[in-house]
């Protein structure tokens, strides 16, 4: 008798513990921080330097920064020395109109979400434009915010600002599928922003005004969400950037609270980047990336720079 009862009770006991833990884990105890070390700032060499950089990606030692205020992409070497830049304000081939997000594939192709021109522009690593994909949904132009390319570049996942959707395009720009739509339910969005993949190919989308991170299979099937509305640890006010580290942790920047919070692979809040229970404040942090050495790059928009950090162990 006892074993059968205990088995059942044990299951129920664990279920209750897990549920309650899930609810309270985000908002319990002292503020957990994780030390980071500021290594360098990238501000640009041109007169005026970077202006409202929105996103950053590192490809084989080169740092590509979306210099949104200047409608261009600026490229730096690993030491922060400016190498070259490409694009200027305009709608012509290779030019930009308020670009926001940037991504890359394993062939070193650079993808830029050219928001105001309703297109994704694809460049080689030297800034030569390879092709352009017009972002359309049901015949309507869509403002892309960010783009994530599969490693082989065969499929581009694009977040749409005005259709509140994630769209998957093939290389030729054909819309393969889309999901989302405006709403607060799981799988819907209110202003989807940055988009990345996990190591196991799940699609991770920052859902800004729903103040959460949503995870999907590449088919668009909803998996789970992370975060939630609020100012407590584990909650989000204006999530903008996201990056997944080698251990599968999600680092989420919050441009209003000016912090980067870290969640584990299951979506549980771990800590906020900072020291001694004090968050490290950044200025309007947005797009982020992590290079092969594990260094974190954060686009601090209102500080017109990209900050580089070493993440403590």
């Amino acid at each position: 008798m006892m074993p059968r009862v205990n088995k059942s009770c044990l299951f129920l006991l664990l279920s209750v513990i897990a549920t309650v833990t899930h609810i309270t884990a985000d908002a319990s105890g002292q503020l957990q921080t994780h030390q980071i070390k500021h290594v360098a700032d990238i501000t640009g060499d041109d007169p005026g330097g970077l202006s409202l950089p929105g996103d950053v990606v590192v490809v084989k030692g080169r740092i590509y920064v979306v210099d949104g205020g200047n409608h261009r992409v600026v490229v730096f070497d690993g030491s922060g020395k400016q190498l070259f830049k490409f694009g200027k304000q305009g709608s012509e081939r290779g030019n930009f109109n308020g670009p926001v997000g940037i991504g890359a594939d394993h062939s070193d192709r650079i993808y830029v979400a050219d928001r105001g021109n309703n297109r994704i522009q694809v460049f080689n690593r030297d800034g030569k434009q390879l092709r352009s994909i017009t972002v359309m949904d049901d015949g309507n132009l869509v403002r892309p915010i960010d783009v994530a390319a599969t490693p082989d570049g065969s499929t581009l996942f694009v977040t749409g600002n005005n259709n509140h959707s994630v769209m998957a395009f093939n290389q030729k720009g054909k819309l393969l599928r889309k999901w989302g739509g405006r709403g607060a339910e799981n799988g819907k969005f209110r202003y989807p922003a940055t988009i990345v993949f996990t190591a196991d190919k799940r699609v991770v989308v920052v859902d800004v005004l729903n103040t959460r991170i949503q995870l999907f299979e590449q088919s668009g099937k909803f998996i789970t969400s992370i975060g939630g509305w609020g100012v407590l640890p584990g909650q989000l006010v204006r999530p903008k950037g996201i990056v997944v580290d080698k251990d599968g942790r999600f680092l989420v920047s919050d441009s209003y609270m000016e912090v980067v919070q870290v969640f584990d692979d299951a979506g549980h809040f771990l800590y906020v980047l900072g020291d001694n229970e004090k968050p490290y404040r950044m200025t309007s942090p947005a797009g982020m990336t992590i290079d092969s050495d594990g260094r974190l790059y954060v686009a601090e928009m209102l500080d017109n720079k990209v900050s580089i950090f070493e993440l403590g162990r």
Binding site: M1, M2, V5, S8, C9, L12, S15, V16, T19, V20, H22, I23, A27, S28, G29, Q30, L31, G48, G49, L50, S51, L52, G54, G68, G69, N70, G98, V100, R115, I145, N161, A184, E185, R190, Y191, A193, V208, L209, S225, G228, W229, G230, V231, L232, P233, Q235, V237, R238, K240, S255, Y256, M257, Q261, V272, E277, S284, A286, M301, L302, N304
Partner: protein
């Protein structure tokens, strides 16, 4: 015992099931909090309304600061730039241009409105609220409440609809009074709306009229005072007023000629642009928004403005008009011109070959350009923006060394070898070109007191200078010592070794510079007043009493007989005003009857 255990186990299981259900309920509640509720939607901006700030068991990631003191003063965080940017950063909405580096000139916030600002009241409350310190903040003009977000009337959450500049004008009431009060015109269709201006952010009203936002933009302006494009070199002004572009680089470009000279607002044209030397868009003096202190009680505002520089102490003290200069503030009817809207007609008949009359600008006393009954001002002959007639651009390497002549000097019509500018109005005197008094015929090498020759400056220049003349008729010749009055002028040529030494009057000629002793007063012949003539005193007889130096033959204005330098006059020609033989000796009998 077994029953007891079984009972306890059952109770424990029930408890656990209840706990699980409670947990699931909590989960669903937690999930529900993720769905937009009215409370949550408000706290997207009104974040300090969140109750989480009151919890003692956990530290929020940001401090509770319901009304922090910022650079802009004490105000709710919901309308701070930081809050606005958290959405307007391109990820949700895109107003990055407002924060863009180097484009940061915005409508002032964090300042108290000046005394000129009149914020309208609605039911006793300011329509545009100030923050707790009485300073302007984002929320003074913007609100997320009370406007229809779905229309394009208030696309940026303005507190009132402002498609035609209503919001600006509600507070800046003093700026709406128009040119009569010295302010740039509003609510009129512009002559042009250049693409460059539009690209810079300039806007016309919904009716296509000029509004405040045609020149200003409240955010991300290129230059103070929140101008849509830079204006340190008058770029903004000259984008619309393209016909004034030639002022740049000219001698009227004060940024070159007098960079430290201050206008009425204390601005230097070196930094405020060439236009600012003479014009300001707000609080100018008069219709042309004058930026200069003009003479009080002037009968000619236009000329008075010119003299504000062209005076002994002014920046153009080297370019004075002199005591004897072409009159200003005088009617165009004086030389016999009848001016209508787009046409001038002379009451004197033109001789063949004369250039048609051009309409020149006339003004009333207040400086308004008028077609009829207008006054001649400096700006009638001079276009202060164009160094030379029809010049599109003035690109001089060394403006300081530039010297004017009859083909430049900001003249509207080149005063060329035909004296085209003078003759445009003085049609009656134009026949001088067909006489020996045209020195190009009789003494082409002669120079006037200014060293100018008729061959370049025209026939009129032999005897007259429009500025810095030598006497009442702006004489261009030096009077002969010992000769008085107008007689001295004629004698400057008609004397031994003079240009007209073959035409001397001799010692026993008709008296000149003498009082009229005859009882009769000539109607057809002019007498000349002494400088200090008493009232009622008859004028003096001068050479010009009998002679009209401009017309060879009084009976035939178009006669070309006088163009022969060797021709001798007789008692009916010889520049006499009336024939001395023909017509019963009309000249002599006019007095000696």
């Amino acid at each position: 015992m077994a029953v007891y255990i079984k009972s306890v186990s059952r109770g424990f299981c029930i408890l656990l099931w209840a706990g699980l259900l409670f947990g699931l309920l909590l989960t669903s509640i937690a999930e529900a909090t993720r769905l937009p509720s009215a409370n949550r939607e408000c706290s997207i901006c009104h974040i300090m309304w969140l109750t989480e700030f009151r919890r003692d068991d956990v530290t929020p990631l940001i401090q509770y600061q319901p009304k922090p003191v910022l650079k802009t003063g004490k105000q709710d965080v919901s309308s701070t730039p930081r809050m606005c940017f958290s959405c307007h950063d391109g990820f949700v909405l895109d107003s990055r241009f407002m924060w863009k580096k180097g484009r940061g000139h915005n409508h002032p916030v964090g300042e108290k409105p000046s005394d000129k600002i009149k914020i309208p009241l609605v039911e006793g409350k300011k329509l545009f609220p100030l923050n707790d310190d009485g300073k302007m903040y984002c929320g003074t003009c913007h609100t997320a409440h009370g406007v229809d977000w779905e229309t394009d009337d208030s696309p940026v959450f303005m507190r009132i609809k402002s498609r035609d500049g209503e919001l600006c004008e509600a507070c800046h009431q003093d700026k709406t009074t128009g040119p009569e009060k010295g302010f740039h015109i509003l609510h009129r269709k512009p002559d042009r709306f250049p693409a460059d201006l539009k690209k810079a952010g300039s806007r016309l009203s919904s009716k296509g009229d000029i509004t405040c936002q045609s020149c200003h933009r409240p955010h991300a302006a290129a230059e103070e005072p929140i101008l849509v494009m830079r204006n340190n070199d008058s770029q903004l002004c000259l984008t619309c007023h393209i016909d004034k572009l030639a002022v740049k680089g000219s001698k009227h470009d004060m940024s070159l000629m007098a960079p430290d000279d201050l206008n009425i607002k204390g601005q230097k044209s070196q930094t405020a642009g060439p236009c600012s030397a003479c014009h300001v868009p707000h609080q100018g003096g008069g219709l042309f928004l004058w930026a200069r202190q003009t003479e009080k009680a002037s009968d000619d505002v236009i000329s008075s403005t010119c003299r504000s520089c062209h005076n002994k102490e002014g920046p153009a003290h080297k370019k004075l008009v002199g005591q004897y200069s072409h009159p200003t503030g005088v009617p165009i009817t004086d030389p016999g011109i009848i001016a209508t809207a787009n046409k001038w007609v002379s009451r004197f008949k033109d001789f063949v070959g004369l250039k048609p009359i051009q309409v020149l600008p006339l003004y009333n006393k207040n400086g308004r350009r008028v077609a009829k009954d207008g006054l001649v001002t400096c700006a009638s002959c001079h276009d202060p923006h164009n160094w030379a007639p029809h010049a599109k651009k003035t690109q001089r390497k060394d403006t300081h060394k530039l010297k004017g002549d009859g083909r430049s000097s900001f003249l509207r019509i080149a005063n060329d070898e035909n004296s085209s500018l003078c003759i445009n109005c003085h049609r009656e005197q134009s026949v001088v070109t067909m006489s020996k008094h045209n020195l190009d015929i009789s003494a082409p090498q002669a120079s006037n007191v200014a060293g100018r020759k008729v061959s370049t400056d025209g026939a009129c220049s032999a005897c007259h200078l429009p500025h810095k003349g030598q006497g009442s008729h702006m004489w261009a010749r030096k009077k002969v010592d010992g000769k008085q009055g107008e007689d001295g002028l004629c004698a400057s040529c008609h004397r031994e070794e003079g240009l007209a030494d073959k035409k001397l009057v001799g010692d026993k000629g008709h008296p000149v510079h003498a009082k009229m002793t005859m009882s009769a007063t000539p109607e057809m012949l002019p007498l000349y007043k002494r400088k200090q003539a008493k009232n009622g005193e008859k004028g003096l007889i001068e050479c010009a009493t009998c002679h009209n130096p401009h017309q060879w033959d009084s009976r035939d204005a178009a006669s070309k007989a006088g163009t022969d330098p060797e021709v001798d006059g007789d008692a009916d020609t010889s520049f006499l005003r009336l024939p001395a033989v023909a017509q019963h000796g009309a000249l002599c009998t006019e007095c000696h009857n």
